[in-house]
Symmetry: C2
Subunit: 770 residues, 2 copies
Amino acid sequence: MQLQNNIRTSSGWDIIENSFDEAQLVTTGSNFMIGNGYLGYRGTFEEWGAKEYVACVVTDTWDQAEGSRWSELCNVPNGLFTELRINKEKLSIFEGETTEYLRSLDLKHGINQRKVTWTSPKGSQVQIQVEKFASHDNHHLLVMRYAFKALSAGMFQITTGIDGEVWSINGEHFKSFDTTEKDHLIAVQQHTYEMNTEICVVEGIYISGRQPEGSTLNKEGKRFFREFQFDLQKDEEIVLEKVVSIIHSNEVEDPLGLARDEVKQALQLGYDELKLAHKKHWEAFWEKSDIEIQGNLEAQVLTRFNIYQAYIATPTHDNLPIGARGLSCQVYQGAAFWDQETFNLPMYVYTHPDIAQKLVAYRHDTLQGAKRKAKNLGYYGAFYAWTSGKTGDELFPDFFFTDVLTGRPIRNHFNCWQIHVSPDVVYGIWLYYEATLDWDFMVNQGAEIIFEVAQFLVSRVHFKKDKNRYEIIRLLGPDEYHENVDNNAYTNYLSRYSLQKACEVYQKLNKENPKVLAALSEKIELPETAYDSWKEIADLLYIPETHPETHLIEQFDGYFKLEDIEPDALRMRLIDPGEYWGWPNGIAVNTQVLKQADVVQLMAMLEGFSQEELTANYEYYEPRTEHGSSLSPSVHALVACKANHEEEAYRYFMESATIDLYNASKKVLSGGSFLGGIHTAAAGGVWLIIVKGFAGFAVVDDGVRFNPKLPKEWEGLSFRLDIKQCELLVNLDKDALTLRRTDGGEHGLKVYFKENAELLKPKASLVFKL
Amino acid sequence: MQLQNNIRTSSGWDIIENSFDEAQLVTTGSNFMIGNGYLGYRGTFEEWGAKEYVACVVTDTWDQAEGSRWSELCNVPNGLFTELRINKEKLSIFEGETTEYLRSLDLKHGINQRKVTWTSPKGSQVQIQVEKFASHDNHHLLVMRYAFKALSAGMFQITTGIDGEVWSINGEHFKSFDTTEKDHLIAVQQHTYEMNTEICVVEGIYISGRQPEGSTLNKEGKRFFREFQFDLQKDEEIVLEKVVSIIHSNEVEDPLGLARDEVKQALQLGYDELKLAHKKHWEAFWEKSDIEIQGNLEAQVLTRFNIYQAYIATPTHDNLPIGARGLSCQVYQGAAFWDQETFNLPMYVYTHPDIAQKLVAYRHDTLQGAKRKAKNLGYYGAFYAWTSGKTGDELFPDFFFTDVLTGRPIRNHFNCWQIHVSPDVVYGIWLYYEATLDWDFMVNQGAEIIFEVAQFLVSRVHFKKDKNRYEIIRLLGPDEYHENVDNNAYTNYLSRYSLQKACEVYQKLNKENPKVLAALSEKIELPETAYDSWKEIADLLYIPETHPETHLIEQFDGYFKLEDIEPDALRMRLIDPGEYWGWPNGIAVNTQVLKQADVVQLMAMLEGFSQEELTANYEYYEPRTEHGSSLSPSVHALVACKANHEEEAYRYFMESATIDLYNASKKVLSGGSFLGGIHTAAAGGVWLIIVKGFAGFAVVDDGVRFNPKLPKEWEGLSFRLDIKQCELLVNLDKDALTLRRTDGGEHGLKVYFKENAELLKPKASLVFKL
């Protein structure tokens, strides 16, 4: 089936590019990428280099480039680098003639493929077929099979090795570039500037077909490679298998030794074995995570593409953050933002609790960083980093954007005023706990986080004695166009929520694990008054009221008094299209135009809003939202479902699902910053829209609820959920919602549907007529 | 004595311009102006018009020009307009040859004079001698004597009348222009656009010498005038006396009738009588307000020039504000800022308590406006306007400056975050009360203001429960380069001060006037808890601590962490010299560079800082201050005295005293706004430097204190004070400070000098050896 642009799908499990478009280099490199949460390898061509945005981004390698203000992940030398020459003419998509072209991504197995038939400017002909994957069996490994067939006789030369000239958006990270060759393996060993992290890339090859006439080992600049000559007759084929292992010293003590061992071992197993193990892993993943859509192949492949991208961005091997651009490039520093809890965590919570557990544990691992941040800013407790890497210390710089009109740096306050990230972390923990009932995690890690966040809020709120209420002053909500606002609806609601959870956990611990509570209180030096403070603040925190007639909730104090203009009219005021719209004097600052709507975001996350509130607020905020954030469409899709705006819901679903694949988001640059790469939160958002929006799934205190709104464009929908220790297969079609429990647990699961509640027993089914 | 530029003084009581400099049109028009607090008439030439910045600004005529965002005073038609032609050649400084030139201002009597001998391009010669004043006997009147002498025979034509083509910086205020002639008086009657205020200008003339050959009455555009022809022989002289009365409907019901009556009556009295009455008033003023400086004629004339300018800017006929540019032009809307209390009020408090009483009563008259402002912003009590006109409603627009780099308006927050204006009003009331002991004023007006400001502070502060302290969040201190700061030292100190005064007044009222207190409490609906709230906030308000080692007080939370750079180095970052340095992204925002130093300002106003604090803070903040405000040098001079930096004190004194006369402040434009005119606060500041700085005068609870530091450039210094119902003549020379009481009061006045305190009895003297 043909999709938009030059993309098609054959099965709903793959994306295939029919032709090459040089203008889309940044985007297609991201879309066709492979990865395993440890490393991301862009879907670029083997003969390419930095200027074509080749990148292999490795998690847990945070480092500040020489002379940079940024701590970011390193882009490491490209071990798959391979050039092919026929009679000295180099294969290149930019020269000669490409008569057959295909680049594809097998979403089911995480395998990138390329098939090209090429005629050189002087008339030599070759066909190449390449297949590669980032192993999910051993996350250090990149594995490639590079086959070329002489369509005309000639001298074929393969240049293959490690290319250390990497694309690094904020400067050079490596102060050294050491090369070794041993046991037929070549290796590059580098150390980073700031952290002195050692990063090793070891490459091994196996050539089948026939052996080369000659070979040499060379080092040119930062390329370390071997050259092989083949004098081929027409139709002769050579197959090169490459295995690359990438390991750094933050993970093991001797990266070079281990990488060598791994490559050796992998070469012994051979390409097919490696691929088989890798595929098994992917099949197991989809077994739990696939969403099957009946009657709409485009929606089907878009959904899988987004789940694929969300998954390869997620470190499943360790407690590490999901980057806002995953591992598709260095943008946003490979660090977690609040998106992790609000857009990416839910899918894992309800399908792979084991992965979800790592993500929430990451917030425990970084608690000390959050405490340092709070202290640096004059607070106590845990103020989580806006941009959170390994340690949880704040990575976001004081000056992020540049005023494109003056060239002056802009002091953005994401790092100090966007405090909702701390309640969001609590929200994520509660999401995990509520779904898994994993009290052990709460006792050992969750409670400490929740208490420290509550303490942060104690230090952050202000009491208005004359109004007998607490307020939260000087905020940035998710809507980043309005900095320096008070009583932001989203922040205040979420803050109350997290204080309530702190009280709940405190009470439960006090009852069930009093010794743990005592030890924890001592460890984190909880004042005796802590519980009372949390309770009082939760009770007296000012929550922007719902207007009794309009049902509107004001986004922040004074928002409704701002100039009321729609985004398109406002856009006309731009002097430069690259201008940042927000702080300090961007065009949106003194208007009601939003980057994303905080009240809508709130309604996507918390339950308990009336139908009037859902509808009124969605209808008010939606036309004022510019969707300057890629997070915005999925939230609008989800709340549009709740607000009974089903057509808009589907439009926003499509917008969110196509941001990357159709390159719907044109913003590669904003406020002077490169912002390309995969929008990982939007990818996670697609799962949310379908499950929480179209299927209307929600967790309630004593069970689950469904309020399905199957898009009229679809015949049906099925997916699995892992919830409250039950395994659920959900089937939705135009007539009915069918729930089947596949687990053999002990207890029934209470299911709410419209006004009814029924108990779903193990191995049983429930059918709700629509 | 020759002063700077082309200015000299003959007696220390006058300024004389030797030659004409076209480049200084804006400045000299202001410097040579006349006025009486009701109207200000710029020191321009009689034949000039709008393009030479002729202006007659009248107080109490606030109005918004058509299409403007500004409410400002009207510049009214010029009733002194007079052109002279010889054989049809028009007298003009820009043509022909001016062989004799003199423009002078008699500071002692408020009389502007001009003497010119002129040869026309065709060789005719004339000498003119003009004298004019804004009557202090009847503040509606402008009076002029215009004499011309034929130095060559010819046909002389005088065109004299009312020129309605006025210079108005923000657009047209008048929707009508009606003219009448009756009883030989000509009149212009106009109504303003916004307020429909009627403003009448009536002109009458008296010609002596000989009568004209012919005369006509004409109206051309907005000029309404008469023409007179004189066929003169060489050395014949004609004298034209003009009387103009300017009255508006905010003052009387029938402005036209009254103005006609006044002009008739004045013409009957004649020029000499009118001048005599005017001079008497001025002599009486100087009797109390002169500062005599021995041994330095330049300092002498500068001091008198500044007192003169401060005085003619002050409405003494009604409870009206002193404008930040007085009545020298429309800039700053003829409205009061905090400068009124902090820079201009003190001189009157200690020399003319009757005038001071009107200024503080003005704050009572505008209390309802201040209450409306508080309410509009979500507070209660009285939040005084940053820019205060007749009603006290906020006149300052949300968007004041323009970003000269982008042309976009800037949302400045002077009107909503610069809350110190309310405590400053209390400071002024206390200054008045402490000096005059006028308890009646306090009972009838002062207490109400002080209580309403205290209530405003109750509604404005935030309590940090965990720190058991009140804080004041999101402020702009006097240093306007840093908006949006917390716990600004100046604001917090002054807020505590005004809450303490509220408690003091409440207690005293409760004891001495309980019925008044009860009635007042009822009238302003004071909650029963009011006193307790004030007391608690005063006790628990966070006051930035003095560092125990450095003795520094941080200007606001986090100030010391800002980039530390000096103003000259910072200036290099300007892209456009006209850029505004402050909010939102001006070059000073993220640095320690100040427009004016808040802590220094604080130390100029409140007593009780240790010598270490005075010295350390002055030395820290002074090099970081850009003096972007004309208020800054006088405060630095004053505190430099206290900090024992006497050379700097004198340098800042000279800077402050010469801002206007030597045109030391070049900033006619800032952030795209015209900001010319007399710096009225700086003028008041000169008095403050001398009396509170060089003489070291301070009021203490039970008396006064002197800590004199006579500049080495001076021989001596004398002035009078009216303090705590005693009249004091202060003489300071290099050897001694001599205080003489000239009143016959009942009680002694306690005088502190160094470690001693002595009682100064009525009619007695005290001599303190230095």
